[in-house]
Subunit: 243 residues, 2 copies
DNA sequence: CGACTGATTGATTTCATTCAAATATAGTGG
DNA sequence: CCACTATATTTGAATGAAATCAATCAGTCG
Protein backbone atom coordinates (compact mmCIF):
# COMPACT_ATOMS: atom_id res chain seq x y z
CA UNK A 1 0.00 0.00 0.00
CA UNK A 2 1.33 3.47 -0.89
CA UNK A 3 1.89 6.11 1.75
CA UNK A 4 -0.75 8.57 2.83
CA UNK A 5 0.30 11.21 0.36
CA UNK A 6 -2.20 11.80 -2.36
CA UNK A 7 -2.11 15.09 -4.30
CA UNK A 8 -1.29 14.16 -7.90
CA UNK A 9 -1.43 10.43 -7.28
CA UNK A 10 -0.77 7.91 -10.08
CA UNK A 11 -4.52 7.47 -10.56
CA UNK A 12 -5.13 11.21 -10.69
CA UNK A 13 -6.92 10.81 -13.98
CA UNK A 14 -9.43 8.57 -12.23
CA UNK A 15 -9.76 10.98 -9.32
CA UNK A 16 -10.14 14.04 -11.47
CA UNK A 17 -13.51 13.30 -13.06
CA UNK A 18 -15.85 14.68 -10.39
CA UNK A 19 -14.81 18.21 -11.33
CA UNK A 20 -15.70 17.66 -14.95
CA UNK A 21 -18.63 15.30 -14.40
CA UNK A 22 -21.58 16.42 -16.47
CA UNK A 23 -24.03 14.76 -14.14
CA UNK A 24 -22.83 16.51 -11.00
CA UNK A 25 -25.08 19.57 -11.17
CA UNK A 26 -28.18 17.34 -11.34
CA UNK A 27 -27.07 14.79 -8.79
CA UNK A 28 -26.57 14.55 -5.05
CA UNK A 29 -22.91 15.31 -5.71
CA UNK A 30 -23.81 18.96 -6.11
CA UNK A 31 -24.04 19.03 -2.31
CA UNK A 32 -20.25 18.79 -2.18
CA UNK A 33 -18.40 22.06 -2.76
CA UNK A 34 -15.72 22.32 -5.43
CA UNK A 35 -13.07 22.58 -2.76
CA UNK A 36 -14.04 19.19 -1.34
CA UNK A 37 -14.27 17.31 -4.61
CA UNK A 38 -11.15 15.29 -3.77
CA UNK A 39 -13.00 13.57 -0.93
CA UNK A 40 -15.88 12.80 -3.25
CA UNK A 41 -13.62 11.52 -6.00
CA UNK A 42 -11.79 9.38 -3.48
CA UNK A 43 -14.98 7.57 -2.57
CA UNK A 44 -16.39 7.19 -6.07
CA UNK A 45 -15.47 4.23 -8.24
CA UNK A 46 -16.43 4.84 -11.87
CA UNK A 47 -17.88 1.87 -13.68
CA UNK A 48 -19.45 1.02 -17.02
CA UNK A 49 -22.33 -1.42 -17.23
CA UNK A 50 -22.98 -2.90 -20.69
CA UNK A 51 -26.49 -2.93 -22.13
CA UNK A 52 -28.63 -5.67 -20.66
CA UNK A 53 -26.41 -6.28 -17.64
CA UNK A 54 -27.72 -5.98 -14.10
CA UNK A 55 -25.86 -4.11 -11.36
CA UNK A 56 -28.29 -4.21 -8.42
CA UNK A 57 -30.19 -7.29 -7.33
CA UNK A 58 -33.30 -7.25 -5.17
CA UNK A 59 -32.66 -9.28 -2.04
CA UNK A 60 -28.85 -9.18 -2.27
CA UNK A 61 -26.85 -7.41 0.46
CA UNK A 62 -26.84 -3.68 -0.23
CA UNK A 63 -23.10 -3.16 -0.39
CA UNK A 64 -23.05 -0.06 -2.60
CA UNK A 65 -24.80 3.09 -3.63
CA UNK A 66 -24.77 4.15 -7.25
CA UNK A 67 -24.84 7.50 -8.93
CA UNK A 68 -25.65 7.38 -12.63
CA UNK A 69 -23.54 9.58 -14.87
CA UNK A 70 -24.80 8.35 -18.23
CA UNK A 71 -27.01 5.90 -20.05
CA UNK A 72 -30.38 4.48 -19.00
CA UNK A 73 -31.27 1.82 -16.46
CA UNK A 74 -34.53 0.15 -15.57
CA UNK A 75 -35.47 -0.40 -11.94
CA UNK A 76 -37.81 -3.29 -11.32
CA UNK A 77 -39.20 -5.88 -9.00
CA UNK A 78 -40.18 -9.46 -9.84
CA UNK A 79 -42.94 -11.70 -8.52
CA UNK A 80 -42.03 -15.35 -7.87
CA UNK A 81 -43.67 -16.49 -11.13
CA UNK A 82 -41.74 -13.99 -13.22
CA UNK A 83 -44.24 -11.18 -13.51
CA UNK A 84 -42.25 -7.96 -13.60
CA UNK A 85 -43.05 -4.43 -12.56
CA UNK A 86 -40.69 -1.78 -13.85
CA UNK A 87 -40.61 0.97 -11.21
CA UNK A 88 -38.93 3.55 -13.37
CA UNK A 89 -36.12 4.40 -15.72
CA UNK A 90 -33.01 6.07 -14.34
CA UNK A 91 -30.79 8.47 -16.26
CA UNK A 92 -27.75 10.63 -15.51
CA UNK A 93 -27.96 12.23 -12.09
CA UNK A 94 -30.11 9.49 -10.61
CA UNK A 95 -28.99 8.14 -7.25
CA UNK A 96 -29.69 4.44 -6.61
CA UNK A 97 -29.49 2.15 -3.65
CA UNK A 98 -31.35 4.22 -1.08
CA UNK A 99 -32.80 1.72 1.35
CA UNK A 100 -32.73 1.64 5.08
CA UNK A 101 -32.76 -2.15 4.79
CA UNK A 102 -29.44 -3.92 4.41
CA UNK A 103 -30.60 -5.64 1.25
CA UNK A 104 -31.58 -4.01 -2.01
CA UNK A 105 -35.34 -3.75 -2.39
CA UNK A 106 -35.24 -3.36 -6.17
CA UNK A 107 -33.15 -4.63 -9.07
CA UNK A 108 -31.47 -2.53 -11.75
CA UNK A 109 -30.29 -3.37 -15.26
CA UNK A 110 -28.76 -1.26 -18.00
CA UNK A 111 -31.21 -0.58 -20.84
CA UNK A 112 -28.40 0.99 -22.83
CA UNK A 113 -24.76 1.16 -21.66
CA UNK A 114 -24.66 2.83 -18.26
CA UNK A 115 -21.91 4.90 -16.71
CA UNK A 116 -22.07 5.27 -12.97
CA UNK A 117 -20.06 5.88 -9.84
CA UNK A 118 -20.13 3.24 -7.18
CA UNK A 119 -19.84 4.15 -3.47
CA UNK A 120 -19.27 1.45 -0.88
CA UNK A 121 -21.48 1.77 2.17
CA UNK A 122 -18.62 2.60 4.56
CA UNK A 123 -17.23 5.26 2.24
CA UNK A 124 -20.67 6.73 1.69
CA UNK A 125 -21.22 6.81 5.41
CA UNK A 126 -17.92 8.63 5.85
CA UNK A 127 -18.87 11.14 3.17
CA UNK A 128 -22.24 11.79 4.77
CA UNK A 129 -20.61 12.21 8.17
CA UNK A 130 -18.11 14.66 6.72
CA UNK A 131 -20.62 16.65 4.67
CA UNK A 132 -23.97 17.03 6.41
CA UNK A 133 -25.40 18.92 3.41
CA UNK A 134 -25.07 15.63 1.57
CA UNK A 135 -27.51 13.99 3.94
CA UNK A 136 -29.95 16.81 3.39
CA UNK A 137 -29.59 16.33 -0.34
CA UNK A 138 -30.19 12.61 0.02
CA UNK A 139 -33.36 13.30 1.97
CA UNK A 140 -34.49 15.64 -0.78
CA UNK A 141 -33.73 12.96 -3.36
CA UNK A 142 -35.61 10.29 -1.43
CA UNK A 143 -38.59 12.61 -1.04
CA UNK A 144 -38.65 13.25 -4.77
CA UNK A 145 -38.42 9.54 -5.49
CA UNK A 146 -41.30 8.98 -3.12
CA UNK A 147 -43.45 11.57 -4.88
CA UNK A 148 -42.58 9.94 -8.21
CA UNK A 149 -43.51 6.48 -6.95
CA UNK A 150 -46.80 7.81 -5.61
CA UNK A 151 -47.52 9.35 -8.99
CA UNK A 152 -46.77 5.89 -10.37
CA UNK A 153 -49.40 4.41 -8.08
CA UNK A 154 -52.00 6.82 -9.46
CA UNK A 155 -51.01 5.84 -12.98
CA UNK A 156 -51.20 2.11 -12.29
CA UNK A 157 -54.26 2.20 -10.07
CA UNK A 158 -56.54 4.66 -11.80
CA UNK A 159 -55.42 5.62 -15.30
CA UNK A 160 -56.53 4.06 -18.59
CA UNK A 161 -54.07 2.54 -21.06
CA UNK A 162 -54.28 5.69 -23.16
CA UNK A 163 -53.56 7.92 -20.16
CA UNK A 164 -50.72 5.68 -19.04
CA UNK A 165 -48.93 5.78 -22.38
CA UNK A 166 -49.37 9.55 -22.63
CA UNK A 167 -48.11 9.95 -19.05
CA UNK A 168 -45.04 7.91 -19.83
CA UNK A 169 -44.16 9.97 -22.89
CA UNK A 170 -44.73 13.28 -21.12
CA UNK A 171 -42.67 12.19 -18.12
CA UNK A 172 -39.88 10.88 -20.32
CA UNK A 173 -39.83 14.15 -22.25
CA UNK A 174 -39.56 16.10 -19.01
CA UNK A 175 -37.08 13.72 -17.41
CA UNK A 176 -33.89 14.97 -19.00
CA UNK A 177 -31.53 17.39 -17.27
CA UNK A 178 -33.92 19.57 -15.31
CA UNK A 179 -32.62 22.81 -16.79
CA UNK A 180 -33.62 22.01 -20.37
CA UNK A 181 -37.13 22.59 -21.68
CA UNK A 182 -39.07 19.35 -22.30
CA UNK A 183 -38.15 17.84 -25.64
CA UNK A 184 -40.78 17.11 -28.26
CA UNK A 185 -38.61 14.64 -30.11
CA UNK A 186 -37.95 11.63 -27.94
CA UNK A 187 -35.63 8.70 -28.18
CA UNK A 188 -36.87 5.66 -26.27
CA UNK A 189 -33.93 3.36 -25.56
CA UNK A 190 -36.12 0.76 -23.83
CA UNK A 191 -38.21 -1.95 -25.51
CA UNK A 192 -42.00 -2.15 -25.66
CA UNK A 193 -41.74 -4.90 -23.06
CA UNK A 194 -39.99 -2.49 -20.68
CA UNK A 195 -42.64 0.15 -21.31
CA UNK A 196 -45.45 -2.37 -20.85
CA UNK A 197 -43.98 -3.61 -17.59
CA UNK A 198 -43.66 -0.03 -16.43
CA UNK A 199 -47.25 0.85 -17.32
CA UNK A 200 -48.83 -2.36 -16.03
CA UNK A 201 -49.93 -3.30 -19.56
CA UNK A 202 -48.95 -5.78 -22.28
CA UNK A 203 -46.72 -4.96 -25.24
CA UNK A 204 -49.71 -5.36 -27.55
CA UNK A 205 -51.71 -2.75 -25.66
CA UNK A 206 -48.76 -0.35 -25.65
CA UNK A 207 -48.30 -0.79 -29.37
CA UNK A 208 -52.01 -0.39 -30.14
CA UNK A 209 -52.24 2.67 -27.94
CA UNK A 210 -49.27 4.34 -29.61
CA UNK A 211 -50.80 3.57 -32.99
CA UNK A 212 -54.07 5.12 -31.88
CA UNK A 213 -52.37 8.28 -30.62
CA UNK A 214 -50.56 8.46 -33.95
CA UNK A 215 -53.77 8.09 -35.94
CA UNK A 216 -55.32 10.81 -33.83
CA UNK A 217 -52.47 13.11 -34.78
CA UNK A 218 -51.06 13.56 -31.27
CA UNK A 219 -47.71 12.09 -32.19
CA UNK A 220 -45.62 10.57 -34.95
CA UNK A 221 -43.47 7.44 -34.86
CA UNK A 222 -40.59 7.87 -37.33
CA UNK A 223 -39.11 4.61 -36.00
CA UNK A 224 -40.28 2.38 -33.20
CA UNK A 225 -37.84 4.03 -30.81
CA UNK A 226 -38.43 7.61 -31.89
CA UNK A 227 -41.48 9.61 -30.88
CA UNK A 228 -42.35 13.04 -32.17
CA UNK A 229 -44.86 14.81 -29.97
CA UNK A 230 -47.02 16.71 -32.45
CA UNK A 231 -49.46 18.10 -29.91
CA UNK A 232 -47.58 18.15 -26.58
CA UNK A 233 -50.31 20.06 -24.77
CA UNK A 234 -52.95 17.57 -25.87
CA UNK A 235 -50.73 14.70 -24.78
CA UNK A 236 -50.21 16.38 -21.42
CA UNK A 237 -53.97 16.74 -21.06
CA UNK A 238 -54.48 13.05 -21.78
CA UNK A 239 -51.72 12.21 -19.33
CA UNK A 240 -53.38 14.28 -16.61
CA UNK A 241 -56.67 12.47 -17.13
CA UNK A 242 -58.46 15.23 -19.02
CA UNK A 243 -58.18 13.95 -22.57
CA UNK B 1 -47.68 37.47 24.46
CA UNK B 2 -45.93 35.96 27.52
CA UNK B 3 -42.23 36.45 28.19
CA UNK B 4 -39.51 34.13 27.01
CA UNK B 5 -39.43 32.09 30.20
CA UNK B 6 -40.63 28.56 29.74
CA UNK B 7 -39.62 25.85 32.28
CA UNK B 8 -42.82 24.79 34.06
CA UNK B 9 -44.95 27.09 31.94
CA UNK B 10 -48.73 27.28 32.32
CA UNK B 11 -49.07 24.87 29.40
CA UNK B 12 -46.62 22.42 30.92
CA UNK B 13 -49.21 19.69 30.57
CA UNK B 14 -49.15 20.27 26.85
CA UNK B 15 -45.32 20.26 26.76
CA UNK B 16 -44.99 17.13 28.84
CA UNK B 17 -46.49 14.60 26.43
CA UNK B 18 -43.42 13.67 24.35
CA UNK B 19 -41.97 11.81 27.32
CA UNK B 20 -45.08 9.70 27.69
CA UNK B 21 -46.01 9.52 24.02
CA UNK B 22 -46.79 5.93 23.08
CA UNK B 23 -45.92 6.56 19.45
CA UNK B 24 -42.43 7.91 20.12
CA UNK B 25 -40.53 4.60 19.99
CA UNK B 26 -41.93 3.87 16.52
CA UNK B 27 -41.61 7.36 15.13
CA UNK B 28 -38.89 9.73 14.01
CA UNK B 29 -39.09 11.27 17.49
CA UNK B 30 -37.05 8.36 18.80
CA UNK B 31 -34.06 10.13 17.24
CA UNK B 32 -34.27 12.73 20.01
CA UNK B 33 -32.75 11.67 23.33
CA UNK B 34 -34.79 11.85 26.54
CA UNK B 35 -32.65 14.75 27.74
CA UNK B 36 -33.64 16.83 24.73
CA UNK B 37 -37.36 16.12 24.80
CA UNK B 38 -38.12 19.68 25.87
CA UNK B 39 -36.93 20.98 22.52
CA UNK B 40 -39.07 18.43 20.74
CA UNK B 41 -42.13 19.19 22.85
CA UNK B 42 -41.60 22.89 22.25
CA UNK B 43 -41.88 22.41 18.51
CA UNK B 44 -44.76 19.93 18.52
CA UNK B 45 -48.34 21.14 18.53
CA UNK B 46 -50.73 18.32 19.44
CA UNK B 47 -53.94 18.22 17.46
CA UNK B 48 -57.01 16.02 17.06
CA UNK B 49 -58.58 15.52 13.65
CA UNK B 50 -62.16 14.22 13.67
CA UNK B 51 -63.16 11.30 11.47
CA UNK B 52 -63.66 12.32 7.87
CA UNK B 53 -61.79 15.59 8.16
CA UNK B 54 -58.79 16.40 5.99
CA UNK B 55 -55.57 17.88 7.37
CA UNK B 56 -53.25 17.92 4.36
CA UNK B 57 -54.24 19.09 0.91
CA UNK B 58 -52.41 18.21 -2.29
CA UNK B 59 -51.28 21.40 -3.98
CA UNK B 60 -51.58 23.62 -0.91
CA UNK B 61 -48.44 25.24 0.54
CA UNK B 62 -46.61 22.71 2.71
CA UNK B 63 -46.58 24.68 5.95
CA UNK B 64 -46.35 21.77 8.37
CA UNK B 65 -45.09 18.29 9.00
CA UNK B 66 -47.24 15.83 10.91
CA UNK B 67 -46.42 12.96 13.18
CA UNK B 68 -49.33 10.64 13.87
CA UNK B 69 -49.77 9.52 17.46
CA UNK B 70 -53.10 7.74 17.12
CA UNK B 71 -55.97 6.85 14.82
CA UNK B 72 -55.89 6.10 11.10
CA UNK B 73 -55.55 8.38 8.11
CA UNK B 74 -55.78 7.77 4.39
CA UNK B 75 -53.26 9.35 2.05
CA UNK B 76 -54.50 9.90 -1.47
CA UNK B 77 -54.26 11.74 -4.74
CA UNK B 78 -57.11 12.78 -7.02
CA UNK B 79 -57.37 13.04 -10.79
CA UNK B 80 -59.20 16.08 -12.19
CA UNK B 81 -62.38 14.08 -12.83
CA UNK B 82 -62.52 12.74 -9.28
CA UNK B 83 -60.87 9.37 -9.69
CA UNK B 84 -59.02 8.70 -6.47
CA UNK B 85 -55.93 6.66 -5.67
CA UNK B 86 -55.39 5.91 -2.00
CA UNK B 87 -51.61 5.69 -1.52
CA UNK B 88 -51.74 4.13 1.91
CA UNK B 89 -53.17 4.20 5.37
CA UNK B 90 -51.17 5.89 8.13
CA UNK B 91 -51.24 4.91 11.79
CA UNK B 92 -49.44 5.93 14.98
CA UNK B 93 -45.75 6.61 14.36
CA UNK B 94 -46.25 7.62 10.76
CA UNK B 95 -44.53 10.85 9.68
CA UNK B 96 -46.33 12.88 7.02
CA UNK B 97 -45.47 15.86 4.91
CA UNK B 98 -42.10 14.81 3.55
CA UNK B 99 -41.71 16.59 0.27
CA UNK B 100 -38.88 18.61 -1.09
CA UNK B 101 -41.48 20.65 -2.95
CA UNK B 102 -43.05 23.59 -1.16
CA UNK B 103 -46.54 22.25 -1.76
CA UNK B 104 -47.99 19.00 -0.47
CA UNK B 105 -47.95 16.29 -3.11
CA UNK B 106 -50.65 14.20 -1.43
CA UNK B 107 -53.79 14.76 0.63
CA UNK B 108 -54.63 13.22 3.99
CA UNK B 109 -57.94 12.66 5.77
CA UNK B 110 -58.80 10.99 9.05
CA UNK B 111 -60.47 7.60 8.54
CA UNK B 112 -61.16 7.44 12.26
CA UNK B 113 -60.30 10.23 14.73
CA UNK B 114 -56.60 11.04 14.39
CA UNK B 115 -54.22 12.34 17.00
CA UNK B 116 -51.07 13.94 15.69
CA UNK B 117 -48.34 16.46 16.40
CA UNK B 118 -47.96 19.33 14.01
CA UNK B 119 -44.52 20.87 13.32
CA UNK B 120 -44.23 24.13 11.42
CA UNK B 121 -41.57 24.11 8.73
CA UNK B 122 -39.33 26.66 10.48
CA UNK B 123 -39.51 24.78 13.78
CA UNK B 124 -38.88 21.48 12.08
CA UNK B 125 -35.90 22.99 10.30
CA UNK B 126 -34.57 24.24 13.64
CA UNK B 127 -35.01 20.80 15.18
CA UNK B 128 -33.21 19.11 12.31
CA UNK B 129 -30.38 21.63 12.52
CA UNK B 130 -30.08 21.04 16.24
CA UNK B 131 -30.31 17.26 16.08
CA UNK B 132 -28.57 15.81 13.04
CA UNK B 133 -29.64 12.27 14.02
CA UNK B 134 -33.15 13.46 13.27
CA UNK B 135 -32.24 14.10 9.68
CA UNK B 136 -30.78 10.62 9.42
CA UNK B 137 -33.98 9.22 10.84
CA UNK B 138 -36.03 11.19 8.34
CA UNK B 139 -33.94 9.80 5.51
CA UNK B 140 -34.54 6.31 6.85
CA UNK B 141 -38.27 7.03 7.03
CA UNK B 142 -38.37 8.39 3.50
CA UNK B 143 -36.47 5.35 2.23
CA UNK B 144 -38.97 3.05 3.90
CA UNK B 145 -41.88 4.98 2.44
CA UNK B 146 -40.25 4.71 -0.95
CA UNK B 147 -39.90 0.95 -0.64
CA UNK B 148 -43.54 0.74 0.43
CA UNK B 149 -44.71 2.82 -2.52
CA UNK B 150 -42.68 0.65 -4.89
CA UNK B 151 -44.32 -2.42 -3.41
CA UNK B 152 -47.60 -0.63 -4.08
CA UNK B 153 -46.62 -0.24 -7.74
CA UNK B 154 -46.07 -3.99 -7.99
CA UNK B 155 -49.46 -4.60 -6.44
CA UNK B 156 -51.26 -2.18 -8.76
CA UNK B 157 -49.34 -3.01 -11.89
CA UNK B 158 -49.03 -6.77 -11.78
CA UNK B 159 -51.20 -8.42 -9.14
CA UNK B 160 -54.69 -9.89 -9.59
CA UNK B 161 -57.68 -8.70 -7.55
CA UNK B 162 -57.33 -11.75 -5.33
CA UNK B 163 -53.64 -11.09 -4.73
CA UNK B 164 -54.30 -7.41 -4.07
CA UNK B 165 -56.91 -8.06 -1.41
CA UNK B 166 -54.73 -10.68 0.27
CA UNK B 167 -51.74 -8.29 0.14
CA UNK B 168 -53.77 -5.56 1.76
CA UNK B 169 -54.89 -7.79 4.62
CA UNK B 170 -51.42 -9.19 5.23
CA UNK B 171 -49.86 -5.73 5.17
CA UNK B 172 -52.52 -4.32 7.47
CA UNK B 173 -51.98 -7.19 9.89
CA UNK B 174 -48.24 -6.51 9.91
CA UNK B 175 -48.59 -2.74 10.01
CA UNK B 176 -49.17 -2.29 13.71
CA UNK B 177 -46.40 -1.35 16.14
CA UNK B 178 -43.40 -3.12 14.64
CA UNK B 179 -42.57 -4.99 17.83
CA UNK B 180 -45.80 -6.96 17.99
CA UNK B 181 -46.33 -10.17 16.04
CA UNK B 182 -48.76 -9.81 13.12
CA UNK B 183 -52.37 -10.04 14.32
CA UNK B 184 -54.73 -12.63 12.86
CA UNK B 185 -57.83 -10.73 13.99
CA UNK B 186 -58.04 -7.44 12.15
CA UNK B 187 -60.18 -4.38 12.55
CA UNK B 188 -60.54 -2.40 9.33
CA UNK B 189 -61.55 1.17 10.16
CA UNK B 190 -61.76 2.20 6.51
CA UNK B 191 -64.66 1.63 4.12
CA UNK B 192 -64.73 -0.70 1.12
CA UNK B 193 -64.46 2.39 -1.03
CA UNK B 194 -61.17 3.28 0.68
CA UNK B 195 -59.90 -0.25 0.21
CA UNK B 196 -60.99 -0.31 -3.42
CA UNK B 197 -59.30 3.02 -4.12
CA UNK B 198 -56.16 1.71 -2.47
CA UNK B 199 -56.14 -1.53 -4.48
CA UNK B 200 -57.08 0.03 -7.82
CA UNK B 201 -60.36 -1.92 -7.85
CA UNK B 202 -64.08 -1.22 -7.37
CA UNK B 203 -65.98 -1.82 -4.14
CA UNK B 204 -67.89 -4.64 -5.82
CA UNK B 205 -64.70 -6.46 -6.73
CA UNK B 206 -63.30 -6.02 -3.22
CA UNK B 207 -66.51 -7.37 -1.74
CA UNK B 208 -66.69 -10.31 -4.14
CA UNK B 209 -63.04 -11.14 -3.55
CA UNK B 210 -63.44 -11.12 0.23
CA UNK B 211 -66.48 -13.37 -0.12
CA UNK B 212 -64.50 -15.75 -2.28
CA UNK B 213 -61.60 -15.89 0.20
CA UNK B 214 -64.17 -16.57 2.93
CA UNK B 215 -65.81 -19.39 0.95
CA UNK B 216 -62.38 -20.87 0.39
CA UNK B 217 -61.81 -20.91 4.13
CA UNK B 218 -58.84 -18.53 4.16
CA UNK B 219 -60.63 -16.01 6.37
CA UNK B 220 -63.84 -15.23 8.23
CA UNK B 221 -65.83 -11.98 8.26
CA UNK B 222 -67.60 -11.69 11.62
CA UNK B 223 -68.68 -8.16 10.63
CA UNK B 224 -67.86 -6.15 7.55
CA UNK B 225 -65.07 -4.37 9.41
CA UNK B 226 -63.63 -7.41 11.18
CA UNK B 227 -61.46 -9.98 9.45
CA UNK B 228 -60.27 -13.19 10.99
CA UNK B 229 -57.35 -14.70 9.14
CA UNK B 230 -58.00 -18.42 9.34
CA UNK B 231 -55.03 -19.48 7.24
CA UNK B 232 -52.49 -16.63 7.50
CA UNK B 233 -49.77 -18.55 5.69
CA UNK B 234 -52.08 -19.32 2.77
CA UNK B 235 -53.11 -15.67 2.62
CA UNK B 236 -49.47 -14.62 2.66
CA UNK B 237 -48.79 -17.00 -0.21
CA UNK B 238 -51.65 -15.52 -2.23
CA UNK B 239 -50.38 -12.02 -1.41
CA UNK B 240 -46.90 -12.91 -2.63
CA UNK B 241 -48.29 -14.19 -5.92
CA UNK B 242 -47.92 -17.89 -5.21
CA UNK B 243 -51.49 -18.79 -4.31
C1' DC C 1 -89.57 3.14 12.92
C1' DG C 2 -88.32 4.86 8.46
C1' DA C 3 -84.40 7.17 5.88
C1' DC C 4 -79.76 6.85 4.94
C1' DT C 5 -75.31 4.97 4.11
C1' DG C 6 -72.44 1.05 3.30
C1' DA C 7 -71.96 -3.79 1.86
C1' DT C 8 -73.22 -7.71 -0.79
C1' DT C 9 -74.93 -10.23 -4.73
C1' DG C 10 -76.42 -10.70 -9.59
C1' DA C 11 -76.52 -9.64 -14.80
C1' DT C 12 -74.21 -7.55 -18.43
C1' DT C 13 -70.59 -4.94 -20.67
C1' DT C 14 -66.01 -3.47 -21.67
C1' DC C 15 -61.25 -2.66 -21.82
C1' DA C 16 -57.32 -4.90 -21.88
C1' DT C 17 -55.38 -9.56 -22.33
C1' DT C 18 -54.39 -13.67 -24.68
C1' DC C 19 -53.65 -16.25 -28.65
C1' DA C 20 -52.12 -16.03 -33.37
C1' DA C 21 -50.05 -14.19 -37.43
C1' DA C 22 -47.73 -10.82 -40.25
C1' DT C 23 -44.27 -7.29 -40.71
C1' DA C 24 -40.27 -4.70 -39.62
C1' DT C 25 -35.59 -4.32 -37.79
C1' DA C 26 -31.07 -5.72 -36.45
C1' DG C 27 -27.34 -8.75 -36.52
C1' DT C 28 -24.28 -12.39 -38.78
C1' DG C 29 -21.66 -14.87 -41.71
C1' DG C 30 -20.99 -16.16 -46.49
C1' DC D 1 -23.29 -6.40 -50.21
C1' DC D 2 -26.84 -9.47 -49.44
C1' DA D 3 -29.27 -13.54 -47.94
C1' DC D 4 -30.67 -15.51 -43.73
C1' DT D 5 -31.81 -15.76 -38.88
C1' DA D 6 -33.33 -13.99 -34.69
C1' DT D 7 -35.74 -10.56 -32.31
C1' DA D 8 -38.96 -6.74 -31.79
C1' DT D 9 -43.09 -4.59 -33.22
C1' DT D 10 -47.50 -4.24 -35.17
C1' DT D 11 -52.00 -5.88 -36.28
C1' DG D 12 -56.08 -9.01 -35.94
C1' DA D 13 -59.54 -12.15 -33.63
C1' DA D 14 -61.22 -14.29 -29.52
C1' DT D 15 -61.29 -14.50 -24.56
C1' DG D 16 -61.58 -13.05 -19.93
C1' DA D 17 -61.11 -10.44 -15.44
C1' DA D 18 -62.84 -6.71 -13.55
C1' DA D 19 -66.04 -2.77 -14.33
C1' DT D 20 -70.53 -1.15 -14.75
C1' DC D 21 -75.32 -1.24 -14.11
C1' DA D 22 -78.91 -2.70 -11.03
C1' DA D 23 -81.07 -4.58 -7.07
C1' DT D 24 -81.11 -6.39 -2.42
C1' DC D 25 -79.58 -6.62 2.23
C1' DA D 26 -77.67 -4.91 6.68
C1' DG D 27 -76.56 -1.79 9.94
C1' DT D 28 -77.06 3.36 12.07
C1' DC D 29 -78.99 7.22 13.56
C1' DG D 30 -82.25 10.92 14.02
Amino acid sequence: MPALSVPASPVSAAHEPCASCGARPYSVCSAIADADLAALAGAAVPQVVPAGAGFMDEGEPATHFFNMTGGTARLFKLLPDGRRQVLGFARAGHFLGLASADSYTVSAEAVEPVRLCRFSRPRMRALVDGFPQLERRLLETASNELATAQEGMVLLGRKTARERVASFLVAWAAGGPSCLPPATRLHLPMTRTDIADYLGLTIETVSRTLTRLRKEGLLALPTSSEVLMLRPAALAAVAAGEG
